[in-house]
Amino acid sequence: MLIRDPGGLVLIFMMPLALVVVMALVQDAPFRDYQELKIDVLLVDMDRDSLGNKIRKSFEAAGQVHLVEESDSVVARQKVHSGEYKAAIILNPEVSSTLRRKTRQLIARVFTKFGMDADNSDSLQIPTIQLKVLVDPAIKVNYRQNLTSGIEKIIANVQTSWLLDELQEQLSEGKENTEKIEFDLSQIAAVDQRYAAEKKSVGLMTNSVQHNVPAWTMFAMFFILYPLAGNFINEREGGSMLRLRLIAGSQFAVITGKFLFYFVVCLLQFLMLIAVGVYIMPLLGLDRLVLGDSPMLILLTACCVAMAATGYGTLIAVYFKTAQQALSFGSVSVVILSAIGGVWIPIYVMPEILQTISRFSPMSWGLESFNDLFLRQAHFGSILPNILRLLGFALVTLAASVLIHNSRTVS
């Protein structure tokens, strides 16, 4: 019957495909914001000394900020204010020399304190050096924090470097042929950031494809209730359900028959959308979906999600008496379950109360399992609790469907 229903086929297969592709494309930029997007930042270097060069080199090496030179600070302010640029770094005249003086004063104070000869000719009080960073009010908080901490890190490095240089200079005063040592401060300490995977690390951070494909695939699978409930209620209103009621045999067979059929449809949806993630997304300029190394566990999780989705759809189909009621309630409930289940936005950014509620959404159980398998290389024991939750949900909804259907078969 489904094959003869082009509208139903489009709804079951083409609409989810379009949804997954569109959502992955739309959310690609926001995901890259956090990870790899380059932003243009103005640099107004009125100092024309070494600090500006250090800033240029450091940001160039980091790769997340593209510095654009601007000579006029007023123009820079206007450009940031208008949103043309996200931020501007203003280096006032003589900021490098002031920093150098402050460093020299610090070394001189230390030497004097320990009774060593030092150049104390510069004893004027130097105020704290302040670099001005202008930001677009619309800039995201994490951009602003990244930019500020980046500049602070550069200044700290410069200051440390100059401290060491000054220290060498003062210590070598009066000694001949003393060769200056160049220090590579990055060799002293470094943060070794690794992914906390159970097995070998795949070195993968979540991205638009990695989030959206499993998330919206589950959304589509739960939307199976739409054709399921529509078909079920059509049969009830069209009379064919009455014929089935008039035929000997348990109504359990009727319900489980429909359940199994739509379960298989859900699995086909899953396979198709995962294939889209692996093969089609790269053709659209997006990342390839990485599946991890546990295909059987992925299939097991998909089966459990399909059972939960079909069970829920069957319950909606059986419980509501009109197609309008079933489809309206069903659609809205799936949207709510998906929202609290982390399909739209990750659960960890939700308010605490929603994070608690999200534990009751079957979509969160499924999504968590897929993330465990795709990104964390999880083993069976890790996904077992969510698998059991999904199976429990499927059994409860199916049992309730059979009970309700049976109670209405004999009134």
Partner: protein, 247 residues
């Protein structure tokens, strides 16, 4: 032997509060074509639903083919064939696919199922349309296919609720002709209809119900013999149930 025995049957719907069937007792002998007649809301459909095991009576005992319907509804459904008033078919399946599906649900398969489907499609003039989807059928064709679906498993008792509703004269003639043939084989039939000419033509026995109560029952000849002033079944029906509109 009676194929149907209803004893002191009562059923009241919670929503309406008025009894749909009130202390109804009825016996239908084997091989009879029993016309269950009555105006709208008389309790015919409720009685049929109870006979099929789709509804439980509040009181009374129901036996079909010597099987207690309330205790063993599945056993009863295996042995009866029901053509409900509404067309109970899958619209997007073809006529043959519908019959294959329902036949399998009755446990038929293989050559037996195929030969029965072919036989009935030929009998009801649907062979040429066998591979067309039901939604393309006329009302008469759907009605005939609806009837076939009730007969595939060769039931001992056939229950027909308005089997000729909305069909043209030719289709009606075909259906009635088939029922006369079925009657000749000794199959018991319960025939519920508002078309009293049809009942007069094919029913060996009749029962007239109104307001949930049985007004009269017996062979058609005996019942009509009790009312010699009524020229036909319609006159008898109006005499018993009155001329007041019920809807």
């Amino acid at each position: 032997m009676n194929v149907v025995q209803l004893e002191h049957l009562s059923k009241t719907y919670l929503k309406s509060g008025t009894p749909a069937v009130a202390d109804l007792s009825l016996y239908i002998p084997e091989g009879a074509v029993f016309g269950l007649l009555g105006p709208n809301g008389a309790g015919k459909s409720t009685t049929i639903m109870i006979l099929c095991g789709l509804m439980r009576p509040d009181q009374g005992r129901v036996t079909v083919l010597d099987i207690d319907v309330i205790a063993h509804p599945h056993e009863v459904r295996k042995r009866i064939g029901v053509a409900p008033q509404e067309i109970a078919l899958f619209n997007t399946l073809t006529a043959r696919e519908n019959l294959i599906y329902f036949g399998r649900m009755y446990g038929l398969k293989g050559p037996v199922l195929k030969s029965r489907i072919d036989h009935f499609l030929t009998t009801f003039g649907l062979t040429e349309k066998a591979n067309k989807q039901v939604h393309t059928f006329s009302g008469g064709m759907k009605r005939r296919l609806n009837l076939i679906a009730a007969l595939l498993h060769e039931p001992q008792l056939v229950i027909l609720d308005e089997p000729t509703a909305g069909v043209d004269v030719q289709s009606r003639n075909m259906i009635l002709g088939f029922l006369e043939t079925l009657k000749a084989t000794g199959t018991s039939i319960i025939y519920s209809s508002h078309v009293l000419e049809e009942a007069e033509r094919i029913c060996s026995h009749i029962g007239v119900v109104d307001e949930g109560k049985l007004l009269v029952t017996g062979t058609q000849a005996a019942v009509r013999g009790q009312h010699p002033d009524c020229a036909n079944l319609e006159a008898l029906f109006l005499k018993l149930t009155g001329k007041t509109i019920r809807d």
